[in-house]
């Protein structure tokens, strides 16, 4: 704070910027966006792509604004002929090795490279054309496809994977042969990628995309023999709007339900029901472990990226994972058992689609031991982005849709379920139920604010029924690693831990709408999206999972008690150690 400010001029205008700012940051103060491609704040400051070049008076040649610090009296020019020519040349060079098939590219319209080419009038994309390497796609993994022919070698994906402490992709070879791949150029399915999709949301182009499964969903909808049921994860309602140009953090729950009906789904349910059910089972499992000397700390298992991480990197600690299926899988399991019976429909005619913030959900629904009815609990998992494209391609005018309500009873949920979408939300929801179950008394307030917020690791101790319950919350596998190392070393005295694979939790999942780096670098997407979830929780009449009438009904009619034999058969699963490389 004591640092003094620096005075400089940008395009002739006086600017005052904190010492240590880059030219890029200083320019934003007066509303000038210098284009960037490789720059990701804090995680990829490598000054490699050279699109952000600006002129600095007295400097020899142009400088890279993304890493060049401001200095007292500096004079910067961001838009001279020289600068514009340099940027255009950089783009032409990138295009010389680029597979320019914008017509059908998934990222068309949302591609950072395409946008810059348009802005700088790159009208001769073959300016530097020469011989090019044709790379094979890597579509080996369940969740994503890598296409190096559209890669601009900005290394943002590598930085994203590194900041998850996974590092299964990197830049290999050198010179003209440099390319992004896994060690020994193995398929992604043969290395310990956790399917988090953080590389996808950070890629400026169409070089990494989720594996699009929307065609199978359209086909099911158009098949008259199929009863197609969709359910949407907690966070989708606060992110889907972004794909239609709406403000970050807009709650579009009503429009989303309306759009899903117009797409032709037979029932539109809320995964929040599955989340409430998860809390019932998980809180019960936790109390059982405490009572019976089971493995502690118990760790949540809702995030399939995190679960896969644990199986690859901490196979010795699998016993700590809760045996509860995730909300997506619980929801599907209940649809194909209880709900199918209620409706008198053979589950083999039911097709369940989950709309998820997460690419790892595409891996999760194909796991073993995820088929309560003998059929997969969930048939297809789509990301928020795939849903947005389906809505677009069906000609549905999203922004003008009326607000509609979910179908019953699997569309009924409490505020506890809504906050699952943010880091700390599952812990808070579980505490609301566990504490009331333990004490038999109503909580004075359902808020456990200590576990909220975007900090990577949060800790709290609650005094409940004569016992100190110590909890921890981590998001992003880099932070998970810190807690797991502590457990492995026998230094952790927690009872209950929530872990989400993505930094910030599902609101920042790898399946969420892509915001360009210029937005990601200067806005905290995680807290902007999460704030809307907490707002929704606050405004709901019921905020504790065990108070939900739909939850009471399913236990009365079907499951009996939390943790019952039937509950175990339908709602719980198992895990297996996985090797790091094959």
């Amino acid at each position: 704070m004591a640092e003094k400010n620096i005075h400089l001029k940008i395009n002739g205008m006086e600017v005052e910027a904190p010492a240590g700012s880059t030219i890029l940051e200083a320019a934003r103060i007066i509303g000038i966006e210098i284009p960037t491609l490789c720059y990701l704040k804090e995680i990829n400051e490598i000054g490699a792509c050279r699109i952000c070049m600006v002129e600095v008076k007295g400097a020899r040649g142009l400088v890279t604004a993304c890493v060049f610090p401001v200095a007292e009296g500096m004079e910067v020019f961001t838009n001279t002929e020289k600068v514009r020519k340099s940027r255009k040349g950089t783009l032409e060079l990138i295009l010389s090795t680029h597979d320019k098939n914008c017509l059908s590219c998934v990222r068309s319209g949302n591609c950072e490279l395409q946008k810059l080419c348009k802005e700088f009038g790159v009208d001769d994309p073959d300016y530097y054309a020469g011989e090019n390497i044709r790379y094979a796609f890597d579509d080996s993994a369940a969740h994503m496809v890598r296409d190096n022919n559209k890669c601009i070698l900005c290394r943002r994906c590598v930085a994203a994977c590194d900041s998850q402490c996974i590092s299964v992709i990197g830049a290999n070879a050198r010179g003209f042969d440099t390319h992004i791949s896994s060690p020994f150029d193995k398929d992604l399915a043969d290395v310990s990628c956790i399917s988090c999709g953080q590389c996808i949301v950070n890629c400026p182009t169409g070089a990494i995309v989720e594996k699009d499964e929307s065609a199978a969903v359209f086909a099911a909808i158009n098949d008259p023999k199929k009863f197609v049921v969709v359910h949407t994860a907690p966070s989708i309602r606060v992110t889907l709007g972004e794909a239609f140009g709406m403000k970050i953090g807009t709650n579009v729950q009503g429009k989303m339900v309306a759009a899903l009906r117009r797409l032709g789904f037979d029932k539109v349910f809320d995964t929040d029901f599955g989340a409430d059910l998860t809390i019932m089972e998980e809180a019960h499992e936790f109390l059982e472990r405490v009572k019976n000397g089971g493995t502690l700390p118990m760790i949540t298992s809702c995030s399939p990226g995190w679960v896969k991480y644990c199986e690859h990197y901490y196979p010795d600690l699998i016993a700590h994972l809760s045996s509860c299926k995730s909300p997506q899988q619980m929801q599907g399991a209940v649809i194909k058992t209880w709900y199918a019976k209620k409706l008198g429909i053979d589950p083999k005619h039911i097709f369940v689609v989950g709309i998820m913030p997460c690419t790892a959900k595409k891996f999760e629904n194909k796991r073993d031991d995820q088929s309560a009815s003998g059929l997969p609990d969930v048939d297809i998992s789509l990301t928020t982005r795939e849903l947005a494209r389906m809505i677009e391609s069906a000609g549905i005018y999203f922004r003008d849709l009326p607000d509609e309500a979910y179908d019953n009873p699997l569309g009924d949920a409490t505020g506890a379920a809504v906050i699952f979408g943010a880091t700390g939300g599952v812990m808070e929801a579980a505490l609301r139920t566990a504490v009331e179950t333990l004490t038999g008394e109503q909580l004075a307030s359902p808020d456990f604010t200590e576990v909220r917020g975007t900090a990577g690791i949060k800790e709290a101790t609650y005094h409940v029924a004569g016992m100190d319950v110590k909890v921890a919350v981590a998001s992003g596998t880099k932070n998970a690693r810190v807690l797991m190392d502590k457990i492995r070393a026998g230094e952790a005295d927690y009872h209950f831990i929530e872990i989400m694979g993505c930094p910030g939790g599902c609101v920042n999942g790898g399946g969420q709408p892509i915001q360009h780096a210029v937005v990601r670098n200067f806005h905290d997407l995680r807290s902007m999206r999460a704030a809307t979830l907490y707002e929704a929780d606050k405004n709901l009449p019921l905020r504790k999972s065990h108070e939900s009438p739909a939850i009471k009904m399913i236990y009365e009619e079907f499951l009996g008690e939390p943790g019952s034999h039937l509950a175990h058969e339908v709602l719980h699963t198992s895990y297996a150690a996985r090797p790091k490389y094959r």
Binding site: S167, G170, N172, A173, R174, P183, F184, D185
Partner: protein
């Protein structure tokens, strides 16, 4: 150039394992010594196949991809073992002009391996090199220490056969 990764099964000895363990023990607390460890591992094993890189990654507690990235970036690291007889074809200017590429192509045709690779029986490995200072004899190749000059593709088969029979 893209490096070829050996498909030959890796065979390490007890003795090599011990030497490698000593290297790791010495450097494992300092990740900045990754290059040094890789160089020493290559001295011990002759090359850096998957198994050796995985041991380096585990020993140094760095991701395997970081080791692989370094091994494919720097020319000094080999991902394929040297054969009993290492063939080196000069692609320097003088040799190239006099048809070195045809010599290289003929060897590839006969042995089924390209530059940077080793035959399955471990007998021959092949590389292309820069000028070795024997331009007067262009085109030139070396097998081990022995230099062969004024080559024409037709000679290659006979020369290789002599090594095979040794």
């Amino acid at each position: 150039m893209l490096k070829k990764v050996s498909k030959l099964p890796f065979q390490g000895t007890e003795c090599q394992a011990q030497a490698f363990a000593d290297v790791i023990a010495q450097y494992k607390s300092d990740p900045s010594q990754l290059m040094t460890v890789m160089q020493k591992a290559q001295q011990i094993y002759g090359y850096l196949p998957f198994e050796v890189q995985a041991m380096i990654a585990d020993g140094m507690d760095v991701p395997l991809e970081k080791v692989y990235g370094v091994s494919t970036f720097y020319a000094q690291f080999a991902l394929s073992p040297a054969g009993k007889h290492s063939i080196s074809v000069c692609l320097g200017t003088a040799c190239y002009v006099k048809g070195a590429q045809a010599i290289l192509d003929r060897i590839t045709e006969l042995l089924g391996i390209g530059p940077g690779e080793c035959t399955e029986d471990g007998l021959f490995s092949l590389d292309a090199c820069r000028c070795i200072g024997a331009c007067g004899l262009a085109p030139v190749m070396m097998i081990g220490e022995k230099v062969y000059g004024n080559l024409v593709p037709e000679q290659v088969e006979g020369i290789l056969a002599a090594y095979r029979d040794q």
